[in-house]
């Protein structure tokens, strides 16, 4: 009996967390697992903090990952990594896109964006960080940054690269298949080297 694996994707509404979770859902089904995912739609999608849970295994009950249970936490933004880091298991892996998006309290000067987030997180957790926006611009499309991050995370999950590429092909819009595959490959290599 396989232990249920818990993945979280966190970020800022509009960063593409839903596309990433669709790819994750696709790959777990392709491998024949039971899977449940939970998403945020509606108002919070408007620039708010968003979280998606993905759980897969032989039999999954609840659709959410709870505090202290995440095997892999994928964060598309530094502050959001910090917000959800306590959801990680003791031996969980945190993959962070090293990007800063100021929340409104910071924009208007009512709060300060914390310094040295990655260093603080690394004191307690295994942290892999990447400037995915830079990597994405390097391959020619800044919007693929989330697939680059997913490529890194894939090194910490149980699926073959060929399967990931096949699922990306069936999930993303047809016109963007090639660039997204390229982005995944780039992330996968970065993740392998980390």
């Amino acid at each position: 009996m396989m232990q249920t694996k818990n993945i979280m994707i966190v970020g800022v509404g509009g960063q593409g967390t839903l596309l990433t979770s669709r790819i994750l859902g696709g790959i777990t089904r392709r491998a024949g697992y039971d899977v449940k995912m939970s998403e945020v739609h509606g108002m919070a999608q408007r620039g708010g903090s968003v979280v998606t849970f993905v759980r897969y295994g032989d039999k999954v009950e609840e659709p959410i990952v709870e505090e202290g249970q995440a095997d892999v936490l994928i964060a598309f933004e530094r502050l959001e990594a910090m917000r959800y880091a306590h959801f990680l298991k003791k031996d969980g892996v945190l993959i962070v896109n090293d990007q800063r998006i100021d929340p409104m309290p910071v924009v208007i000067g009512a709060a300060v964006y914390p310094e040295a987030i990655l260093e603080t997180l690394a004191e307690k957790h295994t942290v892999i960080s990447v400037d995915a926006m830079k990597e994405a611009k390097a391959i020619g499309n800044s919007r693929t940054f989330n697939v680059i991050v997913l490529g890194i995370a894939a090194q910490h999950m149980d699926f073959a690269k060929e399967d990931w590429l096949a699922v990306i092909e069936e999930t993303v819009p047809p016109k963007t298949v090639d660039i997204n595959k390229k982005a995944f490959e780039a992330g996968y290599q970065l993740g392998g080297a980390a």
Binding site: K36, H41, G42, R46, G47, E61, E66, A85, V106, V107
Partner: protein
């Protein structure tokens, strides 16, 4: 061969309706129920679906379809049921011809709502049975079962979901659509015309139905007993059932698929066989209070909250008495939702803020005009309330008091119920200014069409109701249409109309920034040579703009969508238009 797919809870409900042979579906968008209609329209070859102007209309459309003999669906969020409660309470008496299912989505945790009300309480009062699935597969199956029930017991059935179910995905087995014959219509005024003499007798039928359902429900397969260790027994339903299974894998569980009326004998039997009985239900103690009223000892809300969502960890601690070694969350700035870059509401609120105007607000993205840095919206109650509450203020305190007030309401919300409130202002000779923020869509729920957009849910072009024209036809003496990004003109219009002792409407037009999916071709950037770092352009709180520690202001080129609001504000010509890099 059976096909298994991953489906959102809401998509599974739509699939269930399709498989059950539903022919008519009506709804008004509302998180977390919107995706039901967005998915049901995929079956448009075999069933009719629509966006109605509000939930009351949607339910009445479904009632009409049911009376005519076909299976029908109405879907809405919990507060939508308040709007539809008038037909709900009476269709409970009328019952059904073709099956009638009303999907109502509750929002424990208030992800996207103005309150945390519990639909089961409304259903109890209306004496309408309620089914509550736990995951996507059950969402589909329960929907189908609801139609069987609806026809067998001559009752509308509420399928209650919560945000967590509606927006979770799970594996669903697809089946064929059942071909359901239309049931013949027979004229029957004793059943279909609810005047006192008829309704009196229908009430008797309703009470009998409740009793019968409470008895026969004990044998419904959707109510399921899982006996294991009997030292702990839990009665639960819906999403909390999954938390119970995670947290207490060895406990005995009575999983209720029907939560109104309660299958009393089944519950009494279960209670008698377990040592300690717990009731785990999110929101109000609806099951708990009934079970206790039968003289059964049970533990519930003493140890579990009536607010927000539950979790397995919560149950591990409260019932399992476990001490969890959890890391506390980091103390960091919150990230509330904000208006998008390029949002026309930001421009409008900037103008109102500059003029020190208070707004009676409404339900939509523009409710965000209440918070810093815009700080314009003073009140938000429910759909359509902006206009009527402004009217109430004027009647209470007179025109002078509301000279620095306006009502703000979106186009979709105006069509929903705001239109009635404006009618009232005309009729009762109110003075005041109403801003209809027309972004050509229902924005917050993710861009649904409505009666003024010119397109139906099924994708057909249709007559677009002219909002300004309707206001004029009602008799509003002054109606202006202004572009949301034309700052000088908008400012002048608001000044002019609020100063005049009369009723006025300003239709503030500009499409939702997310509506245009084409790539951005124009953006803005700050010329550091010209910028005085005064911060005026930062005032409306555009998320694409940042000011670093040394005061330099920059515009993020991955976020700017070229609305030009900042350029319109800058007095030094320091914001320049550029092509996209």
């Amino acid at each position: 061969m059976e096909k298994k797919v991953i489906m959102l809870g809401n998509a599974a409900i739509a699939r269930g309706a399709y498989e059950a042979g539903v022919k008519v579906s009506a709804a008004y968008p509302g998180t977390p129920s919107t995706e039901i209609s967005e998915n049901i329209v995929k079956y448009k070859d075999v069933l009719y679906s629509e966006w109605s102007p509000n939930e009351k209309v949607a339910l009445e459309v479904a009632i009409g379809a049911s009376i005519s003999g076909v299976r029908s669906l109405a879907s809405m969020k919990h507060v939508g049921l308040n709007v539809a409660s008038d037909p709900l309470y009476t269709v409970s008496y009328i019952g059904t011809n073709g099956g009638l299912v009303i999907v109502v989505a509750d929002d424990p945790g208030l992800y996207s709502s103005q309150n945390e009300q519990d639909t089961r309480a409304v259903a109890r009062a209306a004496k309408v049975p309620v089914l509550e699935p736990s995951d996507s597969m059950e969402a589909k199956e329960f929907t189908k079962f609801a139609y069987e029930m609806s026809e067998k017991y001559d009752t509308p059935v509420i399928l209650r979901t919560t945000t967590r179910l509606a927006h979770s995905q799970g594996v669903v087995t697809l089946e064929q659509r059942q071909e359901i014959e239309d049931r013949p219509y027979e004229k029957n005024i004793a059943k279909h015309v609810m005047m006192p003499g008829n309704a009196k007798f229908r009430h008797i039928a309703v009470e009998e139905r409740e009793k019968k359902l409470a008895e026969e429900g004990c044998a419904f397969p959707i109510n399921r007993v899982e006996y294991q260790d009997t030292s702990i027994g839990v009665i639960t339903s819906g999403i909390p059932y999954l938390y119970v299974k995670e947290a207490l894998p060895n406990a005995s569980v009575l999983k209720l698929g029907m939560v109104n009326p309660l299958p009393r004998k089944l519950i009494e039997e279960f209670a008698s066989r377990v040592e300690k009985l717990y009731i785990v239900e999110e929101l109000d103690p609806i099951i708990e209070e009934q079970v206790r009223s039968w003289g059964i000892a049970a533990v519930g809300k003493e140890i579990l909250t009536v607010q927000g969502e539950y979790s397995a960890n919560m149950i591990r601690q409260a019932i399992g008495k476990e001490t969890l070694d959890l890391e506390p969350p980091a103390q960091i700035p919150v990230r509330p939702p904000i208006l998008c870059p390029g949002c026309p509401h930001r421009s409008t609120f900037h103008v109102l803020n500059q003029l020190h105007i208070h707004a009676a607000g409404d339900i939509g993205c523009y409710t965000l005009g209440a918070v810093a840095p815009l700080n314009v919206v003073d009140t938000t109650v429910c759909m359509g309330s902006s206009i009527s509450s402004l009217h109430g203020m004027e009647k209470a305190k007179g025109f002078d008091y509301i000279k620095n007030w306006v009502a703000v309401i979106g186009d979709s919300t105006f069509m929903h119920t705001g239109i009635n409130s404006l009618m009232n202002m005309v009729y009762n000779q109110s003075k005041g200014t109403v801003l209809i923020l027309d972004n050509s869509t229902t924005g917050m729920t993710g861009h649904q069409d409505h009666a003024a957009t010119g397109k139906t849910l099924m994708g057909d072009a249709t007559y677009a109701i002219d909002i300004a024209g309707i206001c004029k036809a009602m008799g509003v003496p002054s109606v202006q249409i202004v572009n949301a990004f034309d700052l000088p003109l908008l400012k002048q219009a608001v000044k002019e109309e609020t100063a005049r002792e009369a009723l006025s409407v300003i239709v503030v037009k500009a499409p939702c920034a997310l509506l245009d999916k084409r790539p951005v071709t124009v953006q803005y950037r700050i010329d550091p040579e010209k910028c005085k770092q005064c911060g005026m352009c930062m005032k409306p709180g555009c998320p694409a703009m940042t000011k670093d520690r040394d005061g330099a202001i920059t515009i993020n080129d991955t976020m700017c969508n070229g609305c030009g609001l900042c350029a319109g504000i800058c007095r030094f010509g320091a914001v320049e238009k550029v092509g996209v890099r």
